[in-house]
Symmetry: C2
Subunit: 161 residues, 2 copies
Amino acid sequence: MQRRCGKKDNWWCGRFKGLGYKLTFSRQAVLDVLSNTDSHLSAEEIYQRVYKLAPKVGLSSVYRTLELLVEIGLVSKYDFGDRRSRYELGQGIQGDNHHHHLVCTGCGKVLNYTDFIDQELELLKKTEKALSKKYNFRITNHLIQFYGVCRRCSDGKTAGI
Amino acid sequence: MQRRCGKKDNWWCGRFKGLGYKLTFSRQAVLDVLSNTDSHLSAEEIYQRVYKLAPKVGLSSVYRTLELLVEIGLVSKYDFGDRRSRYELGQGIQGDNHHHHLVCTGCGKVLNYTDFIDQELELLKKTEKALSKKYNFRITNHLIQFYGVCRRCSDGKTAGI
DNA sequence: AATTATTTGCCATTCCTTTTCAAAGGTTAA
DNA sequence: TTAACCTTTGAAAAGGAATGGCAAATAATT
Ligand SMILES: [Mn+2]
Ligand SMILES: [Mn+2]
Ligand SMILES: [Zn+2]
Ligand SMILES: [Zn+2]
């Protein structure tokens, strides 16, 4: 449309082309949004941010791009209980930003944490190994979330996202 | 409608009444279904089983009952990635049937496992304690799921639930 | 049996997500 | 560059899980 894949020739260009996918304007836009946030955006929220940069990109394309990104492992998709999926750039276990989540059931706030992540990973590794053998599963990923009530919410304040 | 709360005066009767909820026919039916399965049923599936015993019970009531059961902690609600919530009788961490899940991303099959559950719980306890303090969360629950591909699915067979 | 607040059934409705399909885009080869 | 080819897109409609509204039914209590 305007620019080709290039721009800053991001690290994901290679991954895309290698798999035979075209690095289109829409996809680039979604990736740009995802790489410029540290929160867990919904498809709609991503769409709104994409809209500011590229109003012609449709919501369907955002959904389709997200689906693709999840499939090729560039993005993780989460359910935090607010009835819509939320997305985050990052490549599962092997990524350097691997972390788990702390979710407030009062206001929906989500925190990343990495405390004890090493010990967690050690235990997970052991568990994975045993489960793989016992249940004949090839384990590829895991999900850990803690649920609780944040300070603000337990102080009576009703809500607030 | 036919029978009152009684029947066999199940263990959940007390819990219900204690909280001021009426133990109605519909609710009893949902609980009956949940207590007679070891799989992770969706609302629709629960409704279909309830329908066989009590065709007059509506889908809304099933949803409302499930919501209530989750709220009072008798039932756990899960998202295994197939775009509908799934429910399981059991009371979180303190229950004697506490377990975690192994999900096949190919066919959607879900296994319960309890291997290493003691060590997991130990680590979780430690983590919870640290996170509580650090992030000012009162932690009430946790979720652990492993994702992988089951034998059948990795053997090429396409699907099968 | 009468009373009363709760709960239900049966819609319709909401809202996230997917599908459809013709038009536009990117990629490669001439 | 141009042409050919397959992929991807945008707009709109459809799908589908879950929820809301309301009069009628019901469980618990008197
Ligand atoms: Mn995160
Ligand atoms: Mn289970
Ligand atoms: Zn909160
Ligand atoms: Zn499978």
